[in-house]
């Protein structure tokens, strides 16, 4: 079975919900971002999503966009990023590491070379500006056992969901609402939580792949409303904002508070 799927399914045997956290490589500095990653892995997050920064991150809101632009001042290199996160993956075998970036930086090495560089350690990739129609571009990745993680959105038509599911593996990234990443539209509003729950239930009818839910997840109650509906809760901007306000200690505290 697919490496990411089987990992999530195993972990889910003892836990109602797993956590995936997001970090921008190079923000606020390369070293510091590696420290944040380490902290997350030590505190037990099951999946770590490392974003390699891009100058024009159109699917991201202000928090992550600003972090990307700051990170670029340190001139991060994708090849070094992959080396760094592979090392982390090897040091924390109880968790999994995924790469997230936009298409253009990934096109530079090309997907053959990227698959080589990701190897057995970075087992999934998220590319928010690559629509499913272009899945064939990524062929070298699944050939190496690396799962492209595709996004589903609340207003997606059935036909389109089916197209995604035909090519999906690993897990699915279910976007909680329209818009970019960030903190608007938190789901602790009851009717919104119900909308998300029914959207997730609908997707469940079509697939046995694990469902990860992200965009706007911010509080422990957001997370608890996903229990029973999703397999993985994705927390991005909320942790980045926490870091910006209170540094590593605050992140450690927030991770505690968010534990599903």
């Amino acid at each position: 079975m697919n490496k990411l799927t089987s990992f999530i399914q195993e972990q889910r045997q003892n836990k109602p919900l797993l956590m995936m956290t997001h970090v921008v490589y190079g923000y606020p500095s390369i070293e510091k971002s590696l420290e944040i990653m380490q902290l997350m892995l030590e505190s037990g997050v099951e999946v770590l999503e490392v974003q390699f920064p891009f100058s024009d991150p159109v699917a991201d809101g202000p928090t992550i966009t600003t972090a990307c632009h700051h990170a670029l001042e340190h001139q991060p290199k994708l090849s070094q990023c992959l080396k760094d996160i592979k090392q982390l993956a090897q040091r924390y075998p109880q968790s999994r590491v995924l790469l997230m970036s936009y298409l253009n930086p990934l096109l530079q090495p090309g997907f053959e070379s990227l698959a080589q560089q990701m190897g057995d350690d970075v087992i999934g990739i998220i590319i928010p500006d690559l629509p499913i129609d272009h899945h064939a571009m990524l062929a070298p990745l699944p050939e190496k056992g690396i799962s492209p993680v595709w996004l589903l959105t609340p207003d997606m038509q059935q036909e389109r969901i089916k197209t995604v599911l035909k090519h999906a593996q690993g897990m699915l990234y279910c976007v909680s609402r329209s818009g970019v990443t960030g903190q608007q539209a938190p789901i602790h509003d009851d009717t919104k939580a119900q909308d998300i729950q029914s959207y997730l239930s609908t997707i469940k009818k079509y697939t046995s792949l694990p469902l990860a839910v992200g965009f706007g997840i911010n509080t422990a109650s957001d997370i608890s409303s996903l229990k029973g509906y999703a397999d993985v809760a994705i927390v991005g901007s909320a942790l980045l904002n926490t870091f910006n306000k209170g540094g590593l200690d605050a992140v450690a505290e927030k991770l505690q508070e968010l534990q599903p």
Binding site: F54, S55, D56, P57, V58, A59, D60, G61, P62, T65, T66, H69, L72, Q75, P76, K77, L78, Y102, L103, N104, P105, L106, L107, Q108, P128, D129, L130, P131, I132, D133, H134, W150, L151, L152, T153, D155, M156, Q157, R160, V175, R177, S178, G179, V180, Q184
Partner: protein
């Protein structure tokens, strides 16, 4: 173009999934509208009665004599309502937005011309209008910002990244991804995901169609060469496309800026700092570094310093159907002066690039050859930048005393 909106290896649609259904809705609406003769007629009628088309093809006797080569003609897009070719596109897209039942339009703008044009059309059609503009461009183009506000539009400064056009475009895309139900994203140039390049170039093609007729009427044949400035590429596509498979040579003029160093110009051709890439919704030639990060650009004219270029032009250039050249900031100011003094026409700094490119080559052509330069817009909006570039001290004094007076009131 094929169904995916590809032009050779360029174009396509590379947008976050959340925008997929609205992009498809737009694609369908555009195709249906263009097949509906009453819609096409409505666009034509607005172009005539609101914007003042057809714009003239003006012969430049003085410049022709002074330069002593080809016969020089100007296509006068500066005479459109709002003073630029941008009007052609916003009329088309504004009517399309209305037809799709949208109540709000968003736009991104560099020089502000597209912002003003969008605000004008939104006011006329009763649409809410929000314009994203780089904070840096707002400083350079405040008069346009002023007019957008007067027209009832909201201007949102974008200070992320380099705070210019590409960042405004990112921000508009972000807005669209949460607002698409009631909002049409009115892109200002022939870039972005399909169908924007085709749609904008389509609405702009009225420029070239008119030149085709006017040139036959005025000098009995098609022009030998046509020059247009290339920012995103909409005025160039507009004047070029009807001539693509004719004998007319098509020449694009990019912003050469201050120098050939990275960040000092906006040349997507004739430089190894630009190459194939996929960003902001489409594939084209982008100015980028080895890691695939899009690079800052510079031009004396805010409307030309875009980091990518129309996929239509990237493809035509690759096929050898369009030749790309450039003019630097100094050549542009010289061309501006030459046209203004000799013909009594004040071109926008963007258009002055096309003038620079055309005049440079006119001298090497023969008197029985005819060239047409697209004057994409008028220079009024550039008064501050031009005064600064020309070191006009009385203008600076005027501004000082005007401000002092304001403070004293």
């Amino acid at each position: 173009m094929n169904d995916e909106g590809r032009f050779g290896q360029y174009g396509g649609s590379f947008i976050p999934e959340i925008l997929y259904s609205s992009q498809q809705q737009l694609l369908k609406a555009y195709r249906e509208a263009m097949a509906d003769t009453s819609f096409v007629q409505q666009v034509k009628s607005e172009m005539q009665h609101f914007s003042g088309r057809p714009t003239p093809l003006t012969y430049c006797a003085n410049l022709t004599q002074k330069i002593g080569g080809a016969q020089i003609y100007l296509k006068r897009e500066d005479l459109n309502h709002s003073g630029a070719h941008k009007m052609n596109n916003v009329i088309g897209q504004g009517l399309l937005a209305k037809r799709m039942g949208k109540t709000r339009v968003i736009a991104e703008t560099g020089a502000g011309q597209h912002g003003v044009a969008s605000a004008l059309v939104a006011a006329r059609l009763g649409l809410e209008c929000v314009v994203y503009m780089g904070a840096h461009d707002i400083e350079r183009q405040y008069p346009n910002v002023f007019w957008m506000k007067q027209l009832g539009a909201t201007v949102v400064p974008v200070s992320t990244g380099a705070a210019t056009l590409k960042d405004a475009l990112d921000e508009a895309l972000r807005d669209w991804s949460s607002s698409y139900e009631d909002t049409h994203y009115l892109i200002g140039t022939s870039c972005g995901c399909a169908p924007y390049p085709e749609m904008v170039a389509g609405f702009q093609s009225v420029i070239g169609e008119e030149v085709k007729e006017q040139s036959i009427q005025q000098f009995g044949k098609h022009p030998d060469r046509i020059y247009a400035c290339v920012g995103g590429g909409s005025n160039a596509c507009g004047i070029f496309l009807p001539f693509v498979d004719t004998q007319t040579e098509l020449v694009g003029v990019e912003a050469g800026g201050r120098s050939n160093d990275p960040g000092e110009h906006a040349m997507r051709f004739n430089t190894d700092q630009a190459r194939f890439g996929i960003a902001q919704g489409f594939a084209t030639r982008f100015l980028q570094d080895d890691e695939g990060q899009l690079q800052p650009t510079h031009s004396i004219s805010a409307g030309l310093d875009y980091v990518g270029v129309s996929p239509i032009l990237a493809d035509l250039e690759e096929q050898g159907k369009v030749r790309m050249t450039s003019a630097n900031d100094i050549e542009v100011i010289e061309a501006f002066k030459l046209l203004t003094r000799n013909e009594g026409i004040i071109p926008a700094l963007e258009s002055s690039h096309a003038v620079a490119g055309g005049l440079k080559e006119a001298a090497t052509m023969s008197p029985d050859e005819h060239l047409v330069i697209n004057i994409s817009g008028r220079g009024d909006k550039d008064i501050f930048n031009i005064a600064k570039a020309l070191n006009d001290e009385p203008f600076t004094e005027f501004l000082h005393s005007y401000l002092k007076e304001g403070a004293a009131q």
